[in-house]
Homo-oligomer: 341 residues x 4
């Protein structure tokens, strides 16, 4: 077979491991030809691609980013791709397309699949919010980076008797905050799924100081928000440049806590370090397995499906079932976390 692959959407540690796995499995087992489109669906539309052989994926397993590049594409142009699905396959003489990406990419994949293109998807998101799979690669790396940061912040918070607010990624779901907060032993975790009351955090801090633990670390998903009316301070402002990105929940919550508690509180915004660099062993294994099974799926004709982790097995899930709704942090996972603060 001749298989095209592309990576689309945000950067995610493990993308290169998927690419390498597809190339190795395809060539070694099936004598496939693999071509890689550049910059996501853009390359597909604009005819930018290159052949991928064993040498072209040598040494990329542990490298962050994606050797194929990534870019976002407007919906209209995706529509255009879907309308010409058959033509595109013919042009590139590909028997299958494997797009690797997050929700937007998988939605586009489904659109192409519905239009008749033989598509097998590979899900990708550091946010871990795709409901059809137990985990996505990239997530473990993001959690690891955030946990290491919390580990470091605890000693400095303790020496200075401070409250530290660590803002981690997660606009719509709180998975990174939940797991890094739990792993780092944060004393409070706030997530988009459960609007918080700053008064509860203050109570926790006061209780800690009262029993001699004169510091606290709060882990906040960037999409976390207070219950309506709960935050008396720092609500609604934008930054001096008019950019919303300069002023997130980390800064606002630190200011709020400092004001309410009369103790030093400092924000740390981890930002992009969570999505770059060397993937963890866990993510490399998961990504490699996803790539392997995507190749097998194309040879079995399981089009319109994507790879998914279910327990210890990799299964194929219909794209239409996979992307219907975000996987949110369920209440019982928050309960678990909160009782070990």
């Amino acid at each position: 077979m001749r298989i095209g692959i592309l990576t689309a959407g945000g950067d995610c540690p493990g993308l290169n491991a998927v690419i390498r796995s597809i190339v190795h499995r395809g060539i070694a087992e099936h004598n496939d030809e693999i071509i890689g489109f550049e910059d996501g669906f853009k390359g597909l539309l604009e005819g930018r691609y290159r052949p991928l052989d064993l040498n072209s994926v040598s040494g990329i397993l542990a490298r962050g980013g994606t050797i194929l590049g990534s870019a976002r594409l407007e919906r209209a142009r995706l529509r255009e791709a879907a309308d010409n699905a058959g033509q595109l396959c013919a042009t590139y003489a590909i028997d299958a397309l494997i797009p690797i990406g997050g929700e937007g990419t998988l939605t586009a994949a489904r659109m192409l699949s519905d239009a008749g293109m033989p598509v097998v998807g590979v899900p990708k998101t550091i946010d871990n919010d795709i409901s059809a799979t137990d985990r996505t690669f990239g997530f473990d790396t993001a959690v690891t980076v955030a946990t290491e940061a919390i580990d470091r912040l605890k000693t400095t918070a303790e020496s200075h008797q401070r409250v530290m607010v660590v803002e981690v990624m997660g606009r719509h779901t709180g998975w990174i905050a939940l797991e890094s907060g739990m792993a780092g032993g944060a004393h409070g975790i706030v997530v988009p799924e459960r609007p918080f009351d700053p008064a509860d955090i203050c109570a926790m801090v006061e209780e800690r100081f009262a029993r001699g633990k004169k510091f606290a670390v709060v882990c906040a998903a960037e999409g976390a928000h207070p219950a309506q009316g709960a935050m008396t301070y720092g609500h609604g402002e934008i930054d001096p440049y008019g950019h919303e990105r300069f002023i997130g929940i980390g800064n606002r919550l630190a200011a709020e806590l400092e004001k309410r508690l009369g103790k030093e509180a400092r924000p740390v915004i981890l930002g992009h370090v969570q999505r770059g660099g060397v993937p963890t062993a866990y993510d490399r294994v998961l990504a490699t397995r996803f790539g392997w099974h995507a190749v097998e799926a194309t040879h079995k004709g399981a089009f319109g499906h994507m790879t998914a982790l279910r327990g210890t097995a990799i299964e194929m899930v219909a794209l239409k079932d996979a992307i219907s709704e975000l996987k949110h942090v369920p209440p019982d996972r928050m309960d678990e976390a909160e009782s070990v603060f």
Copy 2:
């Protein structure tokens, strides 16, 4: 309730996270009293224990080892414990015992349970070979340490055009070798489940050198062994001190490859670094969840069971079902790994 806990068997990153989680959940939610027996079942028999409160588990989440100590106990003395199960509970006034350990410990736990003691087990092994649970804590840390070593060895192997044989833990199962070999991009993986032929490894190395990749890394589980008669060299010797531990598969395989290939081959035996030190974020989360659910199980009276990861959920599994047989690396997982060499 008054709950006793103990850690038994080999060291494993995440043990302290379980202890901390039990103490936090028990005290915060249920107002339990927690006592910790020292040095595993020995402390239970010898009356060595201490109360555990929030302060006594402060700062241990990310620390390797176990604050309670661990020791192995002869079967006869375990028998003695089982025969006096009721008496022991009365003596310490405990309503439940939570032993945290590997196969031996869980077998002992079952023996105590059968003898009438209210027991909830928590499985622990860096080897990941307990069949009732998708994963055990400690495993991810071991794989991470081994993967980092393979990452480092690849550059030195390449600069010197050498074959490196990395021996990792795994006497009976090859999980650590499988996942660290896959994550590190080893070019060969040998495990106890599949007797290997050195000729196959030599063929792989020759093929690599032929296409200009003048180095190779082989990842070997310590329990891996050649197919009968396949290893012409280095079979059956013991070391000058009569200790078997000084001469494992790593040394033997490196010698064999060097002789067959006429190329430099070097063994690296990772040893105990795989089981010590700071647990990964993944292991801290899993260990914390296990502790949490073990406490809940004691309050629900789910005795004779142990915690297990199934997909993303923590479930309770009957001890008698949990320890019947080792979880071996299945053939399809080896197939996955081998096609990305």
Copy 3:
């Protein structure tokens, strides 16, 4: 002898290693008694201290923060301490005081020394800006944390064809920016010692994009500032809360570059993670040696001096010479860095 020690000023990885070293050397070699004052000079004035024996420093070598706590003290109260120097020594029956701290602490140490107290200082700053010593402990850890962040940011910058601005610590000197920028392979470094022109950075970015390297990373010391009039945008604002800390050079420079270049630019503010957590091997060795030599100095009566690294040797330097001026990044070090962008 009976020796008092205290840690003052900002948190710094390696403080505990100094404390441990003093206790070990003092007790093992000289049969000294060591007491530790809590929260810096505050503990000295308020009589809060505890005896330190081998057990009390067990396991702290690799731990961030300081087991003695730290706090800043107003100058007036330091004056008070100096005025009562003799009385304080008598009260605690100490033959020597070893304060461990940065510029402020060493200035206070000198004040006490001038007032007749037998003082031996140990310099401490992650900023590496004390001129009398080649290096200070804590600096290598800060550089390592910042370098790891830059490593991660490069892959995400490359995948998204972005400019990333990493703001690292260094209000008055640019050592952390210089060395982490150099180690991480940043494409621009701005430091307080050399006012920069954003036009130069833009030219560098344009040149990179022109030759196909469609990303760039700029490392900025928090105290870096543009040459007068060079920054057309983002000058002089304060944040919506009136706090200066929410809006540093990282945010301002990213906004400026984005506007000038018409390319995505993102700021990452590393913040407090640089000063917490496990010290590097280098810092542990240096801190241990400083502690060792501080004890020797008290026994040799080398009061009014502090420890300093000179080449490979630890030497004693008069406090009055040590703290006269900050050690700035010299022009030739910046030249070195700039030619490998």
Copy 4:
């Protein structure tokens, strides 16, 4: 100018950083042409080289190994190179040669220099045993890897009440053992410079157990050896394959301690992981500075010299002075280390 570079001798983290720095500085500042000979002096003799431009050194700063390859060369062939020094320069049209390597390489460099070739050396050794420079790159990485291993081993030793013997690199000098032992908080350090008596180590272990610290870690340089007659056991054997490399001081000392103490003792041989992989920030900075100054030296005509770190400055040292004798661990550094056990 047209400058040739080569890397020779054992692998060392930082080699690629030197190469990259030479290329950047040479091209950006002096408009030099740089060519890289492959596999050390072999490539020089055999005419294997390639031009190095900015793109060819892109992304190598943080990569272990050497992109130019390395190999050892017999003395006779080096003699041949020296005899044809002038001819070689003419053949390749090079105005200068920068060999990067350890003692053997620098001796060869001097031979070539004496024969009239314009040579500037860059010293390289993970062992840190070149006397003319305060430090060499690669050493900090090796110490860091060894320290992380000791950190991990301490928790497992403690949980199992064991003695662990960690064997680190250092055949002729004990620098890695000294600094990693000190940084890791080992309880004993043995180095080639000071023959040890196992009885002293046993006394240390007994003393620790007596005061409740029921574990110990000993860090041994591979070249460490007992005082004559001090080791009653494990002296002089070779391994079953007749290879000396399978049985080093780590194995022998662990066996000796186990026999004498009647306690479990386990060896861990770190081996090649110490010399591979990503260099630390410290090593990247030092390597980059060495490369920079080597280029400057060629343009100043400082031939017959090599780069050296002296305090915070990079200076040029005559090759004849640089390689006269190994830099050994001096007694006072061992005294420092021993008093903090």
